[in-house]
Amino acid sequence: MKREKFGVGDIVIYLLLGIICLTIVFAFIHLLNISLSPNGTTGSGLMIIPDKPTLDNYAKVIKNKYIWQGYKNTLIRTLLGTSIQLIFTAMGAYVLSKKFYPHRTFWTLLIVFTMFFSGGLIPTYLVVKQLGLIDTYAAMLIPGLVSAYNLTIMRNFFQSLPEEIEESCMIDGAGRFRIFWQFILPLSTPILATIALWLAVGHWNAWFDVLIYITDDKKFTLQIILRRIIITGSKEILESDAAAHSVADEPLVSSEGLKAASIYVATIPILCTYPFLQRYFVKGIMVGSLKG
């Protein structure tokens, strides 16, 4: 296409997009400002760096045992949850991608139907409760084991793989298990990577299942600890612990600063990784939009 002059229209467009991005960047700078302020909020809500920056809030957050426990639990659930979900989703999707599998349409519909209708909050809660999963790590992994949506996307991908190669593997004596592990999965790394990332972000950000299924604070994930700190405004988590090693002459650190610092501590992994991973997610959107 021919290059045109950079006109007034361009300036408006560049400015508009720039402003949208600035609001996002500014939100994080504002948060940084608060987290570095000795009194939480400084005199001006618009300053980038407070008058007397201090790392006190971060020191408090890093010393806090709930935050670390939450980090540990979140890491465990993200790693474990993503791998378990990925394996089961891939297995189900693989079988349902086989046109010769008996009653394939029925089994597929059985799964797809759950995307459109559910028993609702309480019936699901009661099932989880009756299975004895309340207050177990399993409550964060099992009730969301397979997503019908992800399974459909993976099934479509597997269907695009040539069946002939599998048949020749079978003539060579390989069973379906071996073909699945040694042939299908390695061939499917693009789709597996995309879905694994979706699942991982989902686990990292998950909070509702912990809110309803977990009451034991040793099993709380980072998000739910943060929710306690930020929204329920419960000070006990951060401040009871701070009080434990507080000395009489220690300056009062406002909870606004603590909130901001804990948001940063919890978000750093995402802030650091998402720019490099975004293209895999973008690819996933395209795959999803092509679903049949």
Partner: protein, 315 residues
């Protein structure tokens, strides 16, 4: 073949079942997935019966007495439930009216940017909020919108002469607007991906021909880009209509407070509070079922409409 002759003699049901044995390894792989869906999706569907019972936790499904539609009648007599329907519809329609066009506009603007680096930077920054949970977003919004010294209020007062600070998240006059704007803020970049990809796939010769005919930039957007986007826009709009009863549970539950139940309490948050805060299982299940049934009908009909539109090749 001996196997086929032996199959012929068997009862048809047994013949069907032997197929599963024939593919025993595949069956073994599918089994846990089906078991999961039955236990965690279909057994709860049976739990819907709670909404027709005077359900007592101690007695369970088998022991509780049946009350017909009493729970539903009770729900519709409840002011809070009616209010939650109203709030759901208002917030959803606002999100549809403003939140739906926003990413389309964003994609159109982004498409006009010719400096690749600037484009990449804008995209990367605008994707960021998508990766954060509503818990984190709520934390950030609480700080930004705080009535004492939150940046937005300071800005409004200093630059726009606002006299009194606004309590965006705690004032019924502002809560819905805040919810809609923050939802756009979180999703605008990410939502634009699909549209931008569609724009990129438009045949460039169309634009070249238009330039030869003397079409300016606005005309090219009006007569080439927008018409090419129409199929995607139509389908996305229809699909969005299907989920009009989902006004954003994750968002609202993290942003609202008792002070703004009047304008912010939606069906989903109400179901949650009735069920797991007040422990009124029967009412919560009944309302949930009501919502799911209507939602189901909406999704099925809108999906059918979307399929018809895209399948018939009208566009």
């Amino acid at each position: 073949m001996t196997s086929t002759t032996s199959l012929k003699k068997k009862h048809p049901v047994i013949a069907e079942l032997t197929k599963y044995v024939k593919y025993w390894d595949l069956s073994l792989m599918l089994l846990p997935v089906i078991a999961y869906f039955v236990i965690f999706k279909y057994v709860p569907m049976g739990g819907i019966l709670i909404s027709f019972q005077d359900y007592k936790i101690g007695l369970g499904l088998a022991g509780s007495s049946w009350v017909g539609l009493d729970n539903f009648i009770g729900a519709f007599k409840s002011f809070t439930f009616i209010r939650s329907i109203r709030n759901t519809l208002i917030i959803s329609v606002m999100k549809l009216a403003f939140g739906f066009p926003a990413p389309i506009l964003f994609a159109l603007l982004l498409n006009e940017v010719r400096h690749t680096t600037y484009k990449k930077v804008v995209q990367t920054i605008s994707y960021l909020p998508h990766f954060l949970s509503w818990v984190i977003m709520a934390g950030i919004l609480h700080q930004l919108l705080s009535p004492n010294n939150g940046a937005v209020n300071v800005l409004l007062m200093r630059w726009f002469g606002l006299k009194k600070s606004i309590y965006f998240l705690g004032d019924n006059a502002y809560f819905r607007g805040t919810a809609v704007v923050s939802d756009i803020w979180k999703g605008i970049g990410w939502g634009s991906i699909l549209y931008l990809a569609t724009i990129t796939s438009i045949d460039p010769t169309l634009y070249e021909a238009a330039i030869c005919d003397g079409a300016n930039r606005r005309q090219r957007v009006r007569y080439i880009t927008l018409p090419s986007l129409m199929p995607t826009i139509t389908i996305m709009l229809i699909l969005n209509l299907g989920s009009i009863l989902d006004a954003g549970f994750d968002q609202i539950l993290n942003l609202y407070s008792a002070a703004v139940y009047e304008t912010g309490d939606i069906i989903d948050t109400y179901v949650y509070r009735v069920g797991l805060v007040d422990w009124n299982y029967k009412l919560s299940t009944a309302i949930g079922l009501f919502k799911n049934l209507i939602g189901f009908m909406l999704v099925v009909s809108t999906n059918a409409a979307a399929k018809k539109l895209s399948g018939n090749g009208i566009w």
